[in-house]
């Protein structure tokens, strides 16, 4: 058979590797800053851009989409070419993909710090960037598909299936979750409202973890672990079951993020059942990885790359064991809204994603630079300091989660809540400090890696065009034994793509379709009314400052929560909430019933300097809110957008909304004046106060409506 000569493109791999390291460092520094801000509020520097509410989305987005994202592309561009025995389909598309993705990341960092956010976790980017992501994702898809179509190897190795499944699922998730109506260049409202928005968001949020942080990295595991160990994967059969089971089951499990919320019960149960089922394929995959090293543990002792990979796969196993446990309602009742979640995701991010990325980097860089790694010893030290960092990060956060939850639920013998919310927070400060030390150790390891890789790169030379040869793909592929339908699909990537889309779409459709019919599904409450223009503007400031990152707006039906916050939240209260603001973490108290709890002046002083009202508070200061004047020019467009989304403002209300806004603002101003605070009516502070005083009050109005209506 005649051999064809061709060249692998290593230059793109190199660029993605550099981008992985660069953004990883940025993302982790942002994370460290956020971790310090939690116990040292002065580290917010009283500036909008450096405040926790804006730094935290930069951290999560940078780590997920910039660090892991570039890590995925690095691994795919390296392994796909070799597995297909073909160069990437188009050099131009590779370039567009690389630079497009980096531009999106840079724009994301800038816009998030400026406060442009949709407030949907891990999907915070505003609509122009959502469109850009879609375009670049399509470029990546064409490039990947083109390569598969012009391959010289008839069968698709299981890693490629994971890449294809990832591509399909991420495309679907991104598009469905990003339905939003633009109000201006950098502001949009979610198409969905309240319960429906929450369900779509967590269907997305869960599956972003599944299909961005897990399946592509499993593809990398199935390629790079055998490479690094120089032996085939333990069971190829198991890997096939692993793949299909994961993409089938994962998509159903999203609602487990919303247990005990106002989400309908059946959806919560559906999420739990499928989450438990996930345990089987996840552990199958982990064992498949670990068993690959059976009889080769002596290699692990010597090779830092294998060390990284073993801990990565173990962390994958731990996180995927914990996930199903957290989706049990009785466990979730304790873990949710606490630092337990933070510990859980960091076992995944630092252990599974981080360590697998480091392993792959240490393996790829010497390969494409044709030189041994500068220092194996330094890499081993990186491994140990990183492992120590993970432990020092995770253990205090698990502890903090348990302890805070127990304190929240503690009652005195007289039946009173035993602890103030603030006590449950200040009590955790030593643990928060320990966590940031863990993060610092982990980051130190990354700097050691940067030095190591820099030295390696300097010693070697990039083999940008790596020569290879392979016979062309024959027209008829000889069958090994009896032909099976599965082998048929393995040779047909287009069909594989379609089938995996069907697989992931089935779960999504069944979960989401019923909630699309919001009117019939969510019992409406007559007294729940749309926000006034001032409240709407205030709500957008609440979103801009990322308040939802520390404050939930969801009182769960538990004795302690009802005693602490007030009546538990009902689905019907959120029908005008585009987007929903339920939150996922309570670093501060729940705000679902904050309206009317304190006078306007309390909020004013508290925003300027939280410790003046609650000594010991770790909330940042928001002094700029009192100085910034409110952008009332945007009011008509916002009202029109809301009307389009079905919020029942009277026709033509956009034209008169601002006069209502000023009227209400003046009222707040009068209230403040009574408490000897001189504030201008047209400030952002006034709007935010108006919003906070409204939150959760509508159902109280129902009870006193008789007297109020007179």
């Amino acid at each position: 058979m005649q051999l064809e000569k061709f060249y692998y493109d290593n230059r793109t791999v190199k660029w993605f590797a550099y981008a992985t390291i660069f953004w990883g460092t940025i993302g982790m520094i942002a994370g460290l800053l956020a971790a310090v801000q939690i116990y040292l509020p002065q580290a917010n520097f009283d500036l909008p851009a450096t405040t926790f509410g804006r730094v935290r989305p930069v951290h999560t987005n940078a780590v997920i989409f910039a660090f892991v994202g570039n890590g995925i592309f690095m691994g795919v561009y390296y392994s796909l070419q070799r597995l297909c025995k073909a160069r990437m389909y188009s050099d131009l598309l590779s370039k567009i993909h690389f630079w497009g993705w980096q531009l999106i990341i840079a724009a994301a960092a800038v816009t998030l710090l400026m406060g442009y956010t949709t407030s949907k976790e891990y999907a915070e980017l505003e609509w122009p960037l959502d469109i850009a992501i879609t375009l670049i994702w399509v470029v990546f898809g064409i490039n990947m598909f083109g390569t598969i179509l012009k391959r010289r190897e008839s069968h698709l190795y299981v890693a490629i299936w994971f890449y294809l499944g990832t591509w399909v699922a991420v495309a679907m998730l991104h598009i469905v979750n990003s339905f939003e109506i633009p109000v201006s260049m950098w502001k949009s409202y979610s198409w969905y409202a309240g319960v429906q928005d929450a369900l779509v968001q967590w269907w997305y949020g869960h599956n972003a973890v599944a299909f961005f942080l897990t399946t592509p990295y499993l593809g990398l595991m199935y390629y790079f672990l055998p490479k690094a160990a120089n032996r085939p994967i333990y069971s190829y059969r198991l890997s096939i079951i692993h793949f299909w089971a994961l993409i089938f089951i994962y998509i159903w499990a999203g609602p487990h993020h919303l247990l005990y919320t106002a989400l309908p019960d059946w959806a919560q149960s559906l999420g739990t059942v499928f989450s438990i089922m996930l345990l089987a394929p996840s552990w199958g995959g982990m064992l498949n990885g670990l068993f690959t090293l059976r009889g080769a543990w002596d290699k692990v002792r010597e090779d830092p790359i294998l060390k990284f990979m073993v801990v990565a796969v173990t962390c994958y196993g731990m996180a995927t064991f914990e996930g199903p446990m957290l989706s049990l309602k009785n466990v979730n009742a304790i873990s949710h809204f606490t630092d337990w979640t933070i510990a859980h995701v960091h076992v995944g991010a630092l252990g599974w994603n981080g360590f697998l990325t480091f392993g792959v980097l240490y393996w790829i860089i010497p390969k494409i630079f044709k030189t041994p790694l500068y220092s194996k010893k330094l890499a081993t030290n990186h491994f140990w300091i990183g492992t120590l960092g993970i432990i020092l990060y995770a253990v205090p956060m698990y502890w903090a989660g348990f302890e805070q939850s127990i304190m929240w639920k503690a009652f005195t013998e007289e039946g009173q809540l035993k602890f103030q919310f603030l006590e449950t927070v200040t009590n955790l400060i030593p643990l928060y400090i320990a966590r940031s030390v863990g993060g610092l150790l982990y980051l130190t390891g990354v700097f050691m890696m940067i030095f190591n890789i820099w030295k390696t790169v300097k010693a070697g030379e990039l083999e940008a065009e790596e020569a290879a040869e392979a016979p062309a793909l024959p027209k008829h592929i000889p069958a090994h034994g009896k032909e099976h339908w599965h082998r048929w699909i393995e040779r047909r990537p287009v069909q594989l793509l379609v089938f995996s889309l069907v697989a992931v779409a089935i779960g999504g459709v069944l979960e989401i379709v019923p909630t699309f019919l919001v009117k019939s599904n969510v019992p409406t409450i007559a007294s729940v009314k749309p926000y006034t223009p001032l409240e709407l503007q205030g709500r957008d400031i609440y979103i801009r400052e990322g308040c939802y990152l520390c404050h939930s707006q969801m009182v769960r039906p538990f004795r302690d929560e009802v005693a602490r916050y007030g009546e538990y939240s009902k689905a019907g209260e959120f029908i005008y909430d585009h987007p929903f603001q339920w939150g996922s973490k309570r670093t501060g108290p729940d705000l679902a019933r904050i309206g009317g709890k304190y006078p306007d002046s309390w909020h004013y002083n508290h925003m300027l300097e939280p410790t003046s009202m609650s000594p010991g508070s770790i909330m940042p200061n928001y002094p700029w809110l009192a100085d910034n004047s409110l952008d009332t020019a945007s009011t008509p467009a916002k009202i029109r957008a809301m009307i389009k989304l079905g919020v029942p403002y009277p026709e033509g209300y956009d034209k008169v909304a601002n006069s209502d806004l000023m009227q209400q603002a003046n009222k707040v101003k009068q209230n403040l004046k009574r408490d000897k605070i001189e504030a201008a009516a047209n400030t952002e502070m006034v709007a935010l106060i108006a919003y906070l005083q409204r939150v959760g009050t509508d159902i109280k109005a129902e009870k006193r409506s008789e007297t109020a209506n007179k």
Partner: protein, 52 residues
Amino acid sequence: MKFINYLETITGVDVYAMASFFIFFFFFLVMTLWAWKADKKFIDRMNNLPLE
């Protein structure tokens, strides 16, 4: 809120639910059987692909 409420509001939605569950289990069963019975030589060849 019982699931049946939603079934009643969408005409024929139960068909989708049942269909998706059946597709799911059927596919899974076939997958597992296939993996179980697949030709050893073929599996070995696939297994060694990354190492070529």
